[in-house]
Subunit: 404 residues, 2 copies
């Protein structure tokens, strides 16, 4: 698969965190010639929190994670991820596979079963051959090392065209805390092979409940504000681990919250930039809505509209389609107070095209690779920003023939 034209030039340098160790292996379950199994082990005292897909047809590993995320928090912890088979819609066999993997890892790595979180991404409906995974467990644990985060980011890829990583350091008083994350995803999300997975690590010290509240809130403004194709995965998983090894308490720290937001938005944007067939990165900012929720509804209605997305692919400043997508959203809108901008160009206002708008100015904005669309409702103080990509022939190519 050709690297996305929107990909960053290089994978960032991700600093090692004390006590956080990675290992990867090749199961051969689906891919040949690459690693597709990733283990991360975290030291005792690590707080773990997570956010999961709300799909009612959730995969077995997601259900297992959800049952554990509020459970006992003593002992080491581990994240185990395989790429190529989602272990989703696999009936009772799905649960058995998760149990077998968790049990074996617990034995070999001396991590309590209740602290082992797994994620699987890949084809839906095929039984996961768990022996092909447990077979590698001793070897994986022996090779655990703090320098393998690049290999970890690559091992969890499926239709991704580039590995995704981000990091920030933040000064808290005279000390420094580090946040590092890796993600995979190439749609919001293709359930076959583009499920979104996100793993975040920090040496900060924070209680589990505070960590959960923080990551849930930030998730609403980051990963829950991106869409490639409006399809929601059965396996979406975000896990965050705070090891506390820095000794720096970040409870209620605005600096930490802001740095974590930056890592999450960085990874979220990378997922959009790897959207299937994407040739444009699109930021949609909605202001003046009746509420923040309305603003997000309108933003996602525009971001998910096939007609808006194909117009962007065609570099057509087709603001009529944006009016349509605002109108269909179900959120409060008044046609005659609505205004629309492409970049800094005012296109429409007061229910009609802006008097100074020139088509060539709109076209110039649409020729850019990164497109900004501004929508002001003129009703209240609600606002939201969402991100998406365009809808191109590449998306049809990838998805019309995926399994064949």
């Amino acid at each position: 698969m050709k690297r996305s034209p929107l990909a960053p030039d290089t994978f960032p340098e991700l600093p090692a965190l004390p006590g956080l160790r990675f290992a990867t292996a090749a199961t051969g379950l689906r891919y040949q010639g690459r690693d597709d199994l990733m283990l991360a082990v975290l030291p005792e005292g690590t707080a773990v929190a997570g956010v999961f897909t709300r799909s009612s047809t959730r995969a077995a590993p997601v259900l297992d994670c959800q049952s554990k995320i509020l459970g006992p928090s003593q002992g080491a912890a581990a994240f185990l991820v395989n790429a190529g088979n989602a272990n989703a819609f696999t009936g009772r066999n799905g649960t058995k596979a998760v149990e077998a993997i968790v049990s074996r890892l617990s034995e070999v790595a001396d991590v309590p079963e209740t602290r082992i979180f797994t994620a699987s991404t890949g084809v839906i409906g095929e039984a996961l051959d768990h022996a092909a995974i447990t077979h590698h467990m001793s070897d994986l644990v022996e090779r655990l090392d703090d320098s393998h985060v690049d290999a970890a980011a690559a091992a969890i890829m499926t239709t991704d065209t580039f590995a995704k990583g981000a990091t920030r350091q933040v000064a808290i008083g005279d000390q420094t805390v580090t946040i590092t994350g890796i993600a995979k995803g190439s749609g919001m999300i293709a359930p076959d092979m583009a499920t979104m997975l996100v793993f975040l690590f920090t040496d900060a010290k924070i209680g589990r409940a505070d960590l959960q509240n923080l990551v849930s809130a930030l998730n609403q403004r980051t990963f829950n504000c991106i869409t490639v194709d409006s399809d929601t995965s059965t396996s979406d998983t975000l896990l965050i681990a705070a090891t506390g090894t820095s000794g720096v308490d970040v409870t209620d720290s605005v600096g930490f919250s802001s740095a974590l937001h930056d890592v999450m938005i960085d990874l979220a944007h990378q997922v959009v930039r790897d959207g299937e067939g994407a040739s444009k990165f699109v930021e949609i900012t909605v202001t003046g809505a009746h509420s923040d929720a309305d603003a997000r509804t309108i933003g996602l209605s525009v971001a998910n509209s096939p007609l808006v997305k194909t117009a962007i692919a065609g570099e057509d400043p087709n603001w009529g389609r944006i009016v349509m997508a605002v109108g269909k959203s179900g959120a409060l809108a008044d046609r005659d107070r609505l205004s629309i901008k492409f970049g800094d160009v005012l296109v429409a206002r007061e229910g009609w095209v802006a008097p100074d708008y020139r088509e060539e100015d709109g076209v110039a904005e649409m020729k850019k690779t990164d497109i900004r669309i501004g929508i002001d409702l003129g009703l209240g103080g609600g606002n939201a920003t969402v991100w998406t990509c365009d809808l191109t022939h590449g998306y049809i190519d990838i998805n019309a023939d995926y399994r064949s």
Copy 2:
């Protein structure tokens, strides 16, 4: 534009109804060498009812129709439709254009202004040159004739690749009532040029309130159950006129209701068969849902999923994507009670692939032009059927370059 491969072979013979007269003309506003203006005039005593888009950015003619639909019902009535310019998002000028057209038609045709209903379909955001329309009014009225229904169906087309008509006759006691309809639409809906418009005519006798209740209820099961691309027009309009000239009272007649349903579903299917880029016609039947509303939500979630639609385009029996679309819908579903069929082939049941399912059987179903997908939730008695088409390169071709 090439005729859709899913189009019917011929336009049906639509019988004339006493007192119902049509005329068409060419304004040259957008199209050259074809008629793009349609007038239908109905006799005194005609009951008119309608259903309109719920978009909050509705076009001026829609707002005008909605303000009149419950108004005075004395005198003749008329429907006037132009294709090429939607008169949508045109500010106060939009209202003025409607007023000018209605006023002139009322004068020339001797129809009360309150009984003139207009619809416009075409590009959004361009001022409608109403003089180009009023200019033709005397000539149109002079040429009114009861035999021009084919020309009327053709004059309202935009990106449609074929004219759409349907008719049914129904015996009520020893008398016969006729229902005739024409429609346009080529997406559910492209707001530029594929807005859905439907005009239904019958010589049956029925009060306006009963007619409105009937058409609203049937609309829920017909036009509100089709989708091409999940986008909702600013101009969708359905108008029905019951002239009463047959003298046959059809109030509470099951036969009439059933015949009207047949005409509406026939036209609704024709709109899907003319879906932009469509190569497959898809019927999705949802049973066993918690409620009918849940069944419809699930059906539309599947019908609108880009991943399901691209899989169908690729003739891939990718039932995992159907599981995904059921899961994301927000309606009640239990993964382990869900079963899925392609045609009569049981693909998945009890949370996993069916034991007897063979991939070649699924592929054989997907090779057909008309595809049936059955989804049973195993939860209750709610059911719904929705119709859609696949998502192909043709859709991208049409919509990425529409205005250029």
